[in-house]
């Protein structure tokens, strides 16, 4: 032993340094086994079951804002008013095509003949001599004619003159009474404008009248957005997890369709419609991947289902002047289907490609379509119309083959805007 050894032994040999206060707790915690099973559950339940957490200060304001009622009733009332107004406009007897040049150009039907008679009567009354104290512009307000009797009641000093009960065309022999009417001198008031003069028509409308033409073939082109609702059906219980996975990872996006159609007039009211429609059904596909620092990264892509269809629609037209309504309904035949995109399968860590499985049909399928086309004649030629068409389509059959684990169904609703042009 050296003196230096003695110095340290005596100085530090019996030293009792301070022990950290939490050392025993740390050792005890290390020694204690981490609870398992129910004990682990209790550890969490005891501390978290009744836990109260601070609530953000603006939460009540958010709830109040979220509870504000949406004015659905107002929108519904407006829509109802609009529909009622439209129905009244189209179905009210006085708002028919009376007096239009269309009726004059095609005097084939009995209704148009009656309209012609009305026009003739009006023209006749307008041209009759009238008492000096009655202004020329009020002459059309004379008592109505009895169409069936063929006679006009004597009124306001105008002698009763028999009118023909049959239609008048240039090919048919003119009745004597009409010949007498035609031979009457037609006075033209000095104040009459050129438009009111005989031969210039009796319409009080502007100088350039509206002349919709009536050709049998019309072509139309429409384009518009749509909502396609996707549903899945499973053949077996084992595929339920696949259905669940797809239901929570695929959401509808804005779809659209483009239609080129040909319209053929069968009768005054009925048409048939056919053509080609391209439909693009789009769904957003969302899934999470684990990125850098183990953080979940949300990935978004778009799944596309493309269809080529032939619509075969029957159409009924509610007449009007410039504005008309067409109710269309019928089947749509799907000629081709193509799919691109991804989906989640519970058995795989990575998303799978929809097109790889060959689960989707590639051709024939049948759906149903109903639509309401509102048309508006553009210009005075009457050959071009602006179209606004809300539509609904339902595909009762699956878009996937019968052997596919999931049957994929859709219904679709949308709004198309387009143009219609008369051909010949």
């Amino acid at each position: 032993m050296t003196p230096i050894d003695d110095l340290f032994r005596e100085g530090l040999g019996d030293r009792k340094p301070d022990v950290p206060q939490d050392l025993w707790a740390k050792i005890a915690a290390k020694k204690a086994a981490i609870p398992e099973g129910e004990a682990l559950d209790h550890l969490f339940a005891d501390k978290l079951a009744q836990r109260q957490a601070p609530v953000p200060t603006d939460m009540w304001a958010r709830i109040v804002a979220a509870r504000q009622p949406v004015a659905y009733r107002s929108y519904a009332a407006l829509l109802l008013l609009f529909l009622l107004g439209g129905l009244v406009y189209f179905l009210w007897p006085g708002t028919q095509v009376q007096g239009t040049a269309e009726a004059a150009a095609f005097p084939a039907g009995p209704e148009q003949d009656m309209a012609d008679q009305g026009g003739l009567r009006e023209k006749f009354l307008t041209s009759l001599p009238h008492p000096p104290d009655q202004p020329a512009r009020t002459r059309t307000a004379a008592p109505p004619l009895t169409a069936n009797s063929g006679e006009r009641k004597e009124s306001a000093g105008v002698p009763a003159i028999p009118l023909p009960t049959n239609t008048l065309t240039s090919e048919r022999p003119r009745p004597r009474a009409l010949a007498a009417i035609a031979s009457l001198p037609i006075p033209v008031p000095a104040s009459a404008t050129a438009a009111e003069a005989p031969g210039a028509g009796v319409s009080p409308s502007p100088a350039v009248p509206f002349h919709p033409t009536r050709r049998r073939f019309e072509a139309e082109l429409l384009l518009g957005p749509a909502y396609a609702h996707q549903t899945f059906g499973t053949a077996s219980e084992g595929d339920r997890s696949l259905r669940d996975a797809r239901e929570v990872s695929e959401y509808p996006e804005a779809s659209f369709q483009l239609s080129a159609r040909l319209r053929y007039r069968l009768t005054d009211r009925f048409r048939i419609l056919t053509g080609l429609t391209y439909v693009a059904i789009r769904n957003q596909f969302e899934y999470e991947t684990v990125g850098a620092l183990q953080r979940a990264v949300l990935q978004r892509t778009t799944n596309r289902l493309q269809l080529l269809e032939v619509p075969l629609l029957a159409s009924y037209e509610l007449p009007g002047r410039r504005l008309r309504l067409n109710v269309n309904a019928g089947p749509v035949i799907n000629l081709a289907t193509r799919v691109r995109g991804k989906y989640i399968h519970p058995n795989f860590a990575q998303p799978q490609a929809l097109e790889d499985d060959s689960d989707y049909r590639s051709n024939i399928g049948v759906g149903w379509m109903a639509s309401l086309t509102t048309t508006y004649f553009l210009g005075n030629a009457g050959t071009t119309q602006l179209l606004l068409e809300p539509f609904f389509k339902h595909y009762p059959g699956s878009f996937t083959r019968s052997g596919a684990p999931l049957a994929e169904h859709y219904w679709m609703a949308g709004l198309q805007l387009g143009l219609r042009k008369q051909l010949r």
């Binding site: 836990r51 609530v55 899934y287």
Partner: protein
């Protein structure tokens, strides 16, 4: 047994009294926020679920009918809203389960010292499926059959998810403890 004040609040809320509705919110929002935080991964998601819960709570208040505890009824409603939100949200790749859990997240803490916040963080770090099943079974007290019906999964899947959740939680607690010592 309802306290008179609570009954007044509910009656007033049913009549559309704003003050009663506000009082009901003030009283139960902290408890329901605690529930929301357990079911959601982030604070923003929890706030959204809490908001939806109260919107539905006031809309369906007439269905309560003073049968049983109001807190229990509100809590069940909150859990249902959270589950619906979870089901609406994206599907997470749970088959990679354990790989998704960040290791050693949070401050090093001995298991005996784990507080509410640490336990909450551990639950929030679980994959969605594990977190939901663990919450429903271990904390809410639902059976596997009930969980299966609620989530539309097999009873066996619920058991399996619970076991995996427990395993992940044990691992996480062990990691924190090792670092602490």
């Amino acid at each position: 047994m309802l306290s008179m004040k609570e009954k007044d609040m509910i009656d007033g809320s049913l009549r559309g009294d704003d003050r009663c509705q506000r009082a009901l919110f003030e009283r139960y929002a902290p408890l329901l926020m605690g529930v929301c935080q357990r079911y959601c991964r982030t604070q923003a998601e929890a706030e959204d679920v809490l908001q939806d819960t109260f919107v539905r709570l006031f809309a369906k208040l007439s269905q309560y009918g003073f049968r049983g505890s109001f807190a229990g009824w509100a809590r069940r409603l909150c859990v249902n809203v959270a589950l619906k939100t979870y089901q609406r949200k994206r599907f997470t790749l749970e088959q990679t389960g354990l790989d998704n859990v960040p290791e050693g997240a949070g401050a090093p803490t001995a298991y005996a010292d784990l507080g509410e916040l640490e336990l909450l963080q551990l639950i929030q770090a679980l994959p969605d499926g594990y977190r939901i099943v663990f919450n429903l079974y271990a904390i809410e007290g639902y059976t596997h059959k009930e969980i299966g019906d609620m989530l539309g999964i097999q009873e066996a899947s619920s058991r399996s998810q619970l076991l995996k959740a427990r395993k992940v939680l044990q691992q996480q607690i062990e990691i924190r403890q090792r670092i602490a010592i």
